[in-house]
């Protein structure tokens, strides 16, 4: 099992939620104190470095115009990590390709970071989540098509070594594509795609990329992994668990109680802030019947149901692994078994108001007492 440490790196110093309309998209930037932001950037970097020492790979993501995440640019943070770390692999998961107007810029930046890190980069592509549509003014229709179209251009740009080529696809037009420099890893860094449903999973499987699913509990994660393996079987591809990744929330402490308290603090954004509905309910971004159900108040995601059940609900649903290392190992093993197994565990180890010292302790405990014990998991599927 390869473990990755991740945090959304949020800004948890907002006033009461009654004082602003939405934590995402429209939250006024005067609420962000630049000195506190700079302090948080320092602190979060220290936590990533500690995670490297603990044996984790490092995962980062990108969101825009939000207090929940201070990283609007994967390329920038990845470059900083490339120089602050020396051995950890760096996973960017992922570029919101459907929302980027210039896929070549993504290809360029990733090639640069791969060189700065001497080949430690792994690159993820995602469609992008609904609240990031308004910030990019991204067209909400045809996002899956644009994801793969941009992907095709990026991979071609990384691997085309003989001078300029032409590219005029439906959404992207260039006449002299000639990427300099090319990536350090040849032909290119390993690729990942995240999915939150089974819809996109077969395409990911056909490309042989690592398929990651986030906070999807037991049922949905199981379905995604099953869909991947089924497609691989249909295509005659022999694959191993290293094609599958599960992202959980994770918090370790010296007692189960202390871990629960830390996990409660991780929930600050979920409980103490709101996102105005229009930013999440963008017409055309999801299938018609899904938006209809959303408007009717239905929400089948385990995460949302679990949030109603508090920390216990999250643990029960396999979204949060929380407790002493012993407790966590049991939780991971159960999740691994029930979902059929996977080769990557991404641990969201900090969020909300969980503090620096307790986060460092959690990282230390994970590294010393969880990772060695779950290392053997993921060498084979569970079933």
């Amino acid at each position: 099992m390869r473990a990755w440490y991740f945090s959304e790196n949020g800004y948890p110093y907002l006033p009461d939620k009654s004082e602003y309309d939405s934590v995402r998209v429209s939250v006024p930037s005067r609420l962000a104190d630049p000195r506190l932001v700079a302090d948080l950037y320092d602190r979060y970097l220290d936590e990533f470095v500690a995670a490297e020492a603990a044996g984790f790979g490092l995962m980062i993501n990108e969101h825009h115009q939000t207090a929940t995440n201070l990283n609007p640019s994967l390329g920038l943070l990845a470059a900083v990590l490339a120089r602050r770390t020396s051995t950890a692999r760096i996973l960017v998961l992922g570029h919101q390709l459907a929302f980027r107007r210039d896929p070549l810029r993504v290809a360029e930046e990733m090639a640069v970071v791969d060189n700065y890190s001497r080949g430690r980069l792994e690159v993820g592509f995602v469609r992008g989540v609904a609240p990031d549509i308004a910030p990019a003014n991204a067209h909400p229709l045809d996002t899956v098509e644009r994801l793969w179209e941009a992907h095709d251009l990026i991979v071609r740009a990384w691997t085309s070594l003989d001078g300029p080529f032409n590219w005029e696809s439906e959404h992207y037009h260039y006449r002299q594509v000639n990427l300099w420099p090319r990536p350090y890893q040849q032909p290119h860094p390993p690729l990942w795609v995240t999915t939150s449903s089974t819809y996109n999973t077969p395409e990911i499987a056909r490309h042989g990329y690592v398929c990651a699913t986030f906070l999807s509990g037991y049922t949905l994660a199981g379905r995604v992994f099953h869909a991947y393996r089924e497609t691989a079987a249909e295509e005659g591809l022999a694959i191993g668990p290293d094609r599958l990744a599960y992202a959980c929330m994770g918090f370790a402490a010296d007692s189960d109680e202390a871990a629960r308290e830390g996990a409660e603090r991780m929930m600050w954004f979920t409980r103490q802030t709101r996102t105005a509905p229009q930013w999440g309910r963008v017409p055309g971004y999801m299938p018609t019947n899904e938006l209809v159900q959303l408007l009717r108040g239905g929400n089948r995601r385990e995460g949302a149901e679990a949030r109603g059940g508090g920390i216990d609900g999250l643990i029960e649903n396999g979204i949060l692994f929380c407790g002493t290392p012993d407790t966590i190992c049991r939780q991971v093993e159960e999740h691994f078994k029930r979902t059929g197994g996977y080769g990557h565990l991404i641990v969201m180890g900090q969020n909300g108001t969980s503090g620096h010292e307790e986060t460092l302790r959690s990282i230390e405990l994970w590294g010393a007492e969880v990772l060695p014990r779950i290392a053997a998991l993921g060498s084979a599927f569970a079933d």
Partner: protein, 291 residues
């Protein structure tokens, strides 16, 4: 679609099979509207029609055609009204060749060619944008233009919002911004399941046709000055969807346009005061000695 736009060459009408699906409307005033499904052309079309008299071709707004029956019926007293559902709205399938307002204009111009005489073209809000795109391309089949709260033109500095961002507010805030009487808002809560699916499809269609540039064609004003058509520009006196003074600028940009306010209405006077809007249209056209 940038660059050269070629008006459509008149072609022989494709034979369409039409089937009347049902009768719609309030039934007041004795006018019955039909909903007709038309096959055989490039796109299957749903068309609402009724009444008799000179042809009037109505282009519905961004909220679809539900709720427009009172206006259609009022107009049907004096005109043979035809209102095709823009493909992608309501139940009608999306057509891949219709990517923007300009393409919709080509579709509607093709329909006008089948009329025996030039038609009055009435465009409501988003439909007004399509009507302008039709008029700048070809006026042979247009007798007169009526624009009710049209979008389509944009004025001012980059940070001057011309139109409320329909995707940036919750339903309650939108109702207050768009209507003088928010009770008139076409909102999702009151809808049954089938109607809610159509409501969502309408929102998808607005995104499809009008996302960016937002509800307008940059540079359209370079062509609207020389339309040479009798043009009536109507808008609600309390229209908060547009920036203050917007319709004065539209009147200046659309050659020959006569601007009139509909009192007591927000952005959709055709929903809030349909009979008055129909009367103002009738008045304008008879005043012009129109067909």
């Amino acid at each position: 679609m940038g660059g050269l736009v070629v008006p459509p060459v008149a072609v022989a009408s494709t034979v369409r099979c039409e089937a009347v699906r049902d009768r719609v409307g309030t039934g007041d005033g004795g006018v019955r509207l039909e909903r007709v499904e038309s096959e055989g052309g490039r796109e299957p079309l749903t068309v609402y029609r009724g009444g008799s008299g000179p042809p009037l071709h109505l282009l519905h707004d961004e909220w679809g055609i539900a709720g427009l029956e009172p206006l259609l019926e009022a107009l049907a007293d004096d005109f043979a009204v035809s209102s095709p559902v823009h493909p992608g709205f309501e139940d009608s399938p999306v057509s891949p060749r219709l990517r923007g307002a300009g393409d919709l204009a080509l579709l509607h111009l093709g329909l006008l060619e089948r009329e025996a005489e030039p038609a009055v073209v009435v465009g409501l809000s988003f439909g007004g944008w399509v009507a302008l795109e039709m008029a700048v391309r070809c006026r042979h089949h247009i007798a007169a233009l009526v624009l009710v709260g049209p979008t389509g033109l944009r004025f001012g500095a980059p940070d001057e919002r011309n139109f409320v961002d329909l995707f940036a507010h919750d339903d309650e805030a939108l109702a207050a911004l768009l209507y003088s009487d928010p009770e008139k808002a076409r909102r999702p809560e009151a809808l049954d399941d089938e109607a809610l699916v159509r409501w969502v499809r309408n929102r998808e269609a607005v995104a499809r046709y009008g996302w960016e540039p937002y509800l307008h064609t940059p540079g359209l004003e370079d062509w609207t000055g020389e339309l040479g058509l009798p043009t009536l520009l109507l808008h609600g006196a309390q229209d908060r969807f547009v920036a203050p003074g917007y319709y004065e600028k539209v009147a200046g940009a659309v050659g020959g346009a006569r601007r009139r306010e509909v009192p007591g209405c927000g952005h959709y006077p055709h929903v809030e005061r349909p009979e008055e809007v129909a009367a103002m249209i009738g008045e304008f056209l008879s005043g012009r000695g129109a067909p």
